[in-house]
Structure formats: C-alpha cells, structure tokens
C-alpha cells in the first residue's frame, strides 16, 4: 500500500516535467504568434521583436523552459502575456469554481450512478432495461449540447434556472446551488452512464459469486448481502473507474464552463488558447496535472481500503 502511494508520487515528477516541457516546446515552435496576438495585425517587425525580447521569447527554448522551471521551484508560474498578472494568482482565483463543479459532479455521479447500477443489477426486468437504455443516451449525447438543451428548456422556456454565471456560496447559498445545477447535469450525464454500467456489471457478477451463496445459505438478510457484501466487492472496479472519470471531468470543464460562462480553469484555458497566452495555458496544464495526481492518490487509498489484499501486503 505504502509502496503504491510512493510509486504514484514518484510518477508525478516525470509526469509534470513531460506535460510542462511538451507544452513549452510546442508553443515555442511559433514564437511570432504571441506578439501578433498582442499587437494585432498592425504591429511592425520592430515592435514584434521588442515584445519578444520583453517576454523573453528570443532566447532558446531550453533556456526559457529552465527559467520557467526555476520560477516554479520558487513558487512562481510566471505572468500572463495579456495583462501581466501573476499566473498563480489568476489560477488561484479560479480553481475554486472548477473544483466545486467537478467535486459536485463526482458526488452526483457516484451516488446516482451506484444506486441506479445496483437497482439495475437487482431488478433485471423492466427497470434494468430502462436504466440500460438511459445510460446509452448519456454516453451518446455530447455534454455541451446537453448543456445547451438544458439552457433552452430550464432557462429560456421555463425560466427557473440561470443560463450562465457563478454565484459564490458566501454571497447566496441558494443561488450558488442554482448556478451549479445545470452545469453539473451536463457534466455528469456521460460519466453517470459509465458508472451505472460498471456498477451493474460488477454487481451482477458479484451476486453470482460463491461467497454470496454462502452468506445467503447461512441466513444473512438480502439487504445486508446486497448493500454491504456485494456492493463492497463491486465497488473495487467502480472506484477505479470513478478515478479515471474524475480526470476526464477536468477535460469536460473546459467546454461546460465555456457554455455556462463559469469563471473556472476550464473556460480560462479555452480563452487563453486564442490569445496564445503561454504562461496561463502552461499554468492550467500544471494545475490540472496536479489535480489528476491528487485524484490518483486518493483512488489508490480508497482502493486499498476496499480491497484488503492490497492493504495488507
């Protein structure tokens, strides 16, 4: 168990280096773009060179990267090309929104997905089949399209929920909740379908296993068998899937935050791309990677808790 966590932590270092250097090399391939983006089409060659010098873009890539790494080790992610604010402060101001959105989605996905999956496994008839068909839809519908449909129905047609924007919890808990409902549904649909399928399959196979038969034969109630013994064993693959989905949800925030105009990391990444704002993109990449590493660690820990074979050895 401890070795597993240690291995994950060791993996994190090359992972961060790969992600950041990859980003660096790619962006440096076209150095003119930043200046062009800042100056528009009116910039003279002299102005472009001046800006490049000012931003340090005239130096070789590895020097730039080293400079950036040095900054990271000293707690600085550089400053935005666009408004010269510190990248770290821009990101820190936005990470709360993204984490709120993603964690809320994971909670919804875990609770609803596992419940529906268990239900489908225990009642294979009509309920099982309808859960199955619904999860098909969840997989097939792109999340941003679903988000727009939700906006069309709940915001424009019914006018019951806001179509965009984020309200801080401290401002108004009710409006905070309202601002999260539609984005969370849009983000949750796809992962929900996967969790339902995974839970159903895992439960069905565990319920057919030998130990469930033994426990039934020894007089244990069906409730304890399904909800404690079968679910605990079926949860092992489900937790793994939830961990992978968490990482995918981060990708999903890029588009869902854009659709619902939420001031998070995802929408920041999308808008920084057109501005060629390298330090900001780099910063988002690093933050996302750090979050993924944290999630992997968490998944491993929960996995060990669920699976005694991993825990003890």
């Amino acid at each position: 168990m401890r070795r597993m966590i240690l291995r994950r932590l060791l993996q994190a270092v090359p992972l961060l280096l790969i992600v950041s250097s990859f980003t660096f090399v790619l962006v440096s391939l076209i150095p003119g773009s930043v200046a062009t983006a800042l100056l528009g089409d009116t910039g003279t060659p002299a102005e472009i060179v001046a800006i490049q010098r000012q931003l340090g873009l005239n130096r070789p890539v590895y020097v730039q990267y080293w400079h950036w790494l040095d900054g990271v080790l000293h707690g600085s992610l550089g400053s935005s090309f666009q408004n010269h604010q510190s990248v770290a402060s821009i990101l820190n101001a936005r990470i709360g929104v993204t984490l709120t959105l993603v964690i809320a989605t994971v909670i919804v996905v875990a609770i609803v997905g596992v419940s529906l999956g268990v239900l489908a496994a225990v009642r294979p008839g009509v309920i099982g089949r309808s859960v199955d068909s619904l999860s098909w839809l969840g997989l097939a519908i792109p999340n941003f399209w679903l988000g727009l449909l939700l906006v069309a129905f709940f915001s424009i047609f019914l006018s019951v929920l806001p179509s965009e924007g984020f309200v801080a919890f401290s401002t108004s808990p009710l409006r905070w909740l309202e601002s999260l409902v539609l984005p969370v549904i849009a983000l949750a649909a796809g992962p929900l379908a996967i969790v339902v399928k995974q839970t159903r399959d895992a439960m069905v196979s565990v319920l057919e296993s030998e130990f469930v038969r033994t426990l039934r034969a020894s007089g244990l109630g069906e409730r304890s068998i399904v909800l404690k013994h079968a679910l605990r064993n079926a949860a092992v693959p489900v937790v793994t899937v939830l961990g992978v989905l968490f990482a995918q949800l981060l990708s999903g925030t890029v588009i869902v935050e854009t659709v619902f105009v939420l001031p998070g990391l995802g929408s920041l990444a999308a808008s920084s791309v057109s501005a060629h704002d390298l330090p900001v993109i780099e910063g988002v990449a690093v933050y996302f990677t750090l979050i993924v590493i944290a999630i992997n660690l968490l998944t491993d820990t929960v996995y060990g808790w669920l699976n005694p074979k991993v825990r003890v050895t």
Partner: protein
C-alpha cells in the same frame, strides 16, 4: 511442417462466420447500415446535398423543416441538411484521421510490448501510465494554440488516446502468446514477424476493433467540442460542432436549430457503440465454443419441460416413507433456463434423511446432485425453479414456500458448506466479522455475546488460535483453514441439517481426512444430519450411513452403504463402484462405456440403457419408476437380479 499445418489451420480467422453472426443482430445491422449511409452521403455531399451549404438566402431565414428545406434553414437562411452533409465531411474525416493515428501508433506498440516483453514492455507500460494521466483536452488546446488547421489536432488526439488500445492489444497478445499453436509455430521455425502476423494479429483484431469503435465515438464528440470552440474550421464552412455553436447564438429565438446537428452526433455515437458491442459479443462467442454448444443442446427442451410439470409417476410407498424423517423429498423436479425455454435438470428426485443421519448423494458430474442440494435452500441460479414435487423439512413444506419463510430456514434450519472454501468467504471482510454478522442474523445476540460465540465456533471447528484467525481476511488463510471457517459459518445458526457440497474436493488429501474427521465428530456432538454431495465412494464409505445414487437427473438407487457396497441393485451403481480405485482389484481399472447424456438428450426408457451391460428389450420401452428391492432398498432397475456375479468379490 505438414504435420503441424492442421493445428495451425484451426486458428485461421474465418470471415464468413462472424458476418453471419452479425446478420443475426438487427440492431447492430441497422447501426452499420446507418454508418455506411452517413459516410456515403457525406462523401458525396457535393452531388447529393440539396443546396450550397454556404449560400445565404436572407429571405428565408430560420424556417422550420419543409419540403424545400427538409431540416429547415438557419438564421442566415442556409439549408441545414446541406450543412450537415458538408459538415460531416469535416467531422468524420477529422475523426477518421484520429482513428488512423490511434491504430497506427497503438496496435504495433501493443503487439511488440506484449510479444517481446522485458524492458521494452515495461517502458511502454510506464509511458502509457503517464500519458493516461494527462488531461486530453489540455493537450488539444495547446496544440490548437500553436498549429493552424485541424490535422495536428487529430494526430495528437490519436496519440494521446492510444494507451487504451495499447493496453488491450498487449493484454491479448500476452494471453495468445502462451497458447500451444503459437508455441508450435515458433518451434517449426517461423520468424517472430511471421508469428505476429499470422497467429497473433488475427486474435488481436476483434478486441482492437472494439477499442476502435469506442475511440471513434469519443473522437467524434471531441471533434464536435473543438468545433464548438471554433478550433476545427474557419467560418462559414460548417462542421457539426460549429453548427451547434452557431445554433447556440440564436437558442432563444430558434431552439430547433440545436436539434439536427446534435442528433446526428448522438446517433453516430450510438451506432458506433452498437457495432462495437456486437463485435465484442461475437468475439466472445467465437472464442468460447462451449457457449454455443450449451445453446444447441436445448432443442428438445420444450418436450422435457412439459414432462417436468407432470413428473415421472412414482407409486406411493416405493421410497420407504420417512415418518421420522427430518427432510423428506418427493418427486422433486428442477428446471433451469436455456436459450429455447427451460431445461429439465432434475427429474422427480425422492429421498429421505432422518434426524442425525448422514446421507450421501453420489453421481458423476452433471447428474443433478448439486442442483438438488441448492434447490432445498432456494438458491437455484437465476431463472431456475422447482417445477414439481415436494420437500418437507421438519414439518414445513419447502417447495412453493414464500421467499420470506425460506430465508428464515437458511442458516437456522439448513446450513451449507461448499466446494471451494476460498471462494466461499467474502474477501472484503475478516473471518470474525462475517461470523459475527451471521451469528447475529440467526440469533438475537448482542455484539459481545456474538464475539464470544464466534470464537467458540472457531474453536469448535478446531482452528488453532481463534482470536488470530478471526482477525484475518480470507486470502490470508490456507484452504483447510478456510473450509473450517466456512463450517463455522454454516454452524453459526445451529442448523439441523448441513448440506455439504463436495466439501473436500478442492483440498489436499491429508486436509480432506481432517475435515471429514471434523464433520464426523460435529455430527456426533450436535446431532445434526448431513447431506453429503460427492462423487467419491471413499468418502461415502467412511462417512455416510445411506446413499442415494443419481444418474441423468434421476435417483436410481437408495440404500444402506454397507448393503450397496455388497450388492448394488442398479447397474450404474455397480459400474461406479467397479470404476473406483478404492475398491478395484488387480488389473486395469474398469470404466463405464459411453458418457452421461446431457439434460434434454435423455433416452425415453431407462436412461442408463445405452450404457448398460444387462440391457434387455423392455428396458427401452417406457420410463422406469423407482421400485422396492431387497433390504428396504429401492432401485430404478427392471432386472436387479441380473447384477451380481461381478461384484461379490468386491465386497469386503
């Protein structure tokens, strides 16, 4: 070389069989037809599209579906259907590029990693580990920020997604690599490249195809995301994603515009998923021929099902009536589901167990003995049911009893220990926890009392150091310890009858003897009866007082163990005894010619007739009922007097 050829030839992939399988699935066929039509229509868009996708007719903006514009027009008066067809050229082509990169990068890497193994394999696996942790969209955004056009985006998407196919191909290669025909090919001197191409690649194809369909669906959605963010084509050229973005700007005036572009994406993704599922299912069937065989058996099932309801007539009194019997089973018939309906597995089984008695049920595998034991606990596999007969347990009718009351009986009245002790314990909880839970489910005991009781039980099954064992997880126990723990679990409710389903089969010989010893002394101490399901006559001889022999779903003989060993009253019993190494004399071990007929293929007369050395004409005419024999025994043989001569020298 030629001698090996047929072995190798068996594993050639045949194309016609999978295609025929596919045609049997209407949904997957429909999905395939849709995909083919979509690709054809989009590629031929300049020919088949009703209008120029970028022609703006400002006199006819935002119209709904009509004959002139089947899917309506957008806010600039452009024909939506034409834009979908032309947009598909972008979206589908982009997705295709990503899929090609995905396959070209993933399949060779997976093959090489799986086939060569070693350091290369470890390198590939750790790189895929790392790549899997990178958020895909971030990579795409960075690439989009740097490069013009959509090709670099799709190439990087294919690369970043490739770990999924690398892992699947590697895993398949690893498992195929160890198979005999691959080893044979290596031995006859095929080069590694030839082995990979001829023997491994065909096996990898199907699982890889499943991954391709999953990824193709994901690529289409991601392409739409990029289109929505305006990163794939420059306006006014359409792509499915950019059409949704355009529709979003007028969502409050013309919500309809959201529908065509979104639906075409969703339908395409569903179609790809259906095709992928079909490929997976067909491949599973192809790789495990037993599945197909099990299905084809069911041809005569309806006839058997009808017979199950009636039950074979069984004259009253043919089985010695068990006035003092603890369990009295009469004409119990059990059916299991199969492809064509239901299949009769156990046909009118009858037997009794007295209080404190031990009865063996003996027979070859597939004769229905385990199913009979399971049915008594109401633990038939899904879809299985008792089709007729009765089972009285201690004055209570088990057959047709409400689920609630049958659950009440489990543990408290009837306990079960099964064949594989390691699989019979929940791996996620300690032995002590499971024991305490079962104790409290069966008896009203407090936590502390349950704990004391659990340690007592562990001591009763002669586990050294009960406290230590109680704190262990099942995987930390040996097979013998696990079986003792299972017995403790079965004893927790103080049952009057213990069903032991081949409890020693999976154990070492020395451990077998210990477990049998334990069961014998437990029976004497607690006075519980034991129903011992086994195929081992040695166990029967040591442990049981009476025995029921089962053949092809029927009880064919019941009698005291000593009497039966001395003189079997059924030729099947005789054959089984003679074939048993415990009792065989000098010379080669005799065996019963032929095999047990599977359920659904039972002969109409005596079911043993085709294999019986004493068969006469009347044996094959009609079903044989159980009839009284000597010494209060029963048999399902018309001519028990013909048996004998050969078995007298066996008895001792």
């Amino acid at each position: 070389m030629s001698a090996v050829a047929p072995v190798v030839g068996v594993h050639r992939v045949s194309w016609t069989a999978p295609v025929r399988e596919l045609l049997r699935r209407p949904l997957a066929c429909g999905a395939l037809v849709y995909l083919v039509c979509l690709v054809a229509a989009c590629s031929a868009a300049p020919l088949v599209a009703p209008a120029n996708p970028n022609y703006e007719n400002l006199l006819d903006v935002s119209s709904g579906p009509s004959l002139a514009h089947l899917l309506g027009t957008d806010d600039l008066g452009r024909d939506v259907l034409s834009r979908i067809l032309f947009g598909g050229r972008i979206t589908l082509l982009d997705a295709a590029e990503a899929v090609i990169v995905f396959v070209v990068v993933g399949v060779p890497l997976g093959l090489v990693a799986g086939y060569l193994g070693g350091r290369l394999d470890r390198l590939v696996m750790s790189v895929t580990d790392i790549v899997l942790s990178i958020p895909v969209i971030i990579v795409l955004l960075v690439v989009a920020a740097v490069f013009q056009g959509d090709l670099p985006l799709m190439v990087s998407l294919g690369i970043v997604a490739s770990p999924s196919i690398i892992r699947v191909v590697r895993a398949t290669t690893l498992s195929v690599r160890t198979e005999l025909y691959v080893k044979a090919a290596e031995v006859i001197g095929l080069s590694r490249l030839q082995v990979l191409r001829r023997h491994i690649l065909p096996q990898v194809l199907a699982p890889a195809l499943v991954q391709v369909s999953v990824f193709a669906a994901a690529a289409i959605v991601l392409e739409a995301v990029l289109g929505y963010l305006g990163l794939d084509v420059a306006p006014p050229a359409p792509s499915w994603g950019s059409m949704i973005a355009e529709a979003a700007t007028v969502i409050d005036q013309q919500p309809w515009l959201m529908i065509p572009s979104g639906c075409v994406i969703a339908l395409t993704v569903i179609a790809l998923g259906l095709v992928g599922d079909a490929v997976r299912d067909i491949n599973i069937n192809r790789r495990s021929p037993t599945v197909l065989r099990a299905r084809s058996i069911g041809s005569g099932s309806s006839q058997n099902g009808a017979r199950a309801a009636e039950g074979t007539p069984n004259p009253e009194g043919s089985v010695p009536s068990g006035a003092e019997a603890l369990l009295s089973v009469r004409d119990l018939s059990i059916v299991l589901p199969n492809a064509g309906g239901e299949l009769l597995i156990v046909d009118a089984a009858s037997f009794d167990i007295g209080r404190g008695e031990s009865l063996g049920i003996v027979g070859e595998s597939g004769c229905g003995k385990t199913i009979t034991a399971r049915a008594l606990l109401g633990l038939l596999p899904p879809g299985g049911r008792i089709a007729g007969g009765s089972a009285m347990f201690d004055g209570e009718q088990l057959v047709g009893a409400r689920k609630q009351s049958r659950v009440q009986l489990r543990g408290k009245a009837i306990g079960l220990i099964s064949q594989e002790p390691m699989a019979a314990l929940d791996p996620a909880f300690t032995v002590g926890y499971q024991l305490r839970e079962v104790i409290r489910a069966n008896r009203k005991l407090g936590r502390r009392a349950a704990r004391t009781e659990s340690l007592d039980l562990l001591e009763q099954v002669r586990l050294p150091n009960p406290v230590l064992v109680a704190g262990r997880y099942p995987h930390q126990l040996s097979g013998g310890m696990a079986q003792r723990a299972c017995i403790a679990l079965a004893l927790a409710g103080r049952p009057k009858l213990l069903i032991a389903d081949e409890p020693t089969t999976a154990l070492d010989v020395t451990v077998q003897a210990e477990i049998l010893d334990l069961l014998t002394s437990l029976r004497h101490d607690t006075g519980m009866a034991i129903l011992f399901v086994t195929h081992d006559w040695g166990v029967v001889a040591d442990f049981c007082e009476r025995t029921a022999v089962m053949y092809a779903g029927q009880v064919v003989e019941i009698g005291g163990v000593d009497e039966m060993f001395r003189l079997p009253l059924h030729p099947y019993t005789e054959g089984l005894l003679a074939a048993n190494p415990h009792f065989a004399g000098e010379g080669p071990l005799p065996s019963i010619p032929g095999t047990v007929p599977p359920p659904g293929a039972w002969p109409s007369g005596c079911r043993f007739a085709p294999r019986c050395p004493y068969v006469t004409v009347d044996c094959k005419i009609s079903a044989i009922a159980l009839r009284p024999g000597t010494e209060g025994r029963v048999t399902r043989c018309l001519h028990p007097e013909r048996i004998g001569g050969r078995t007298t020298d066996v008895s001792s």
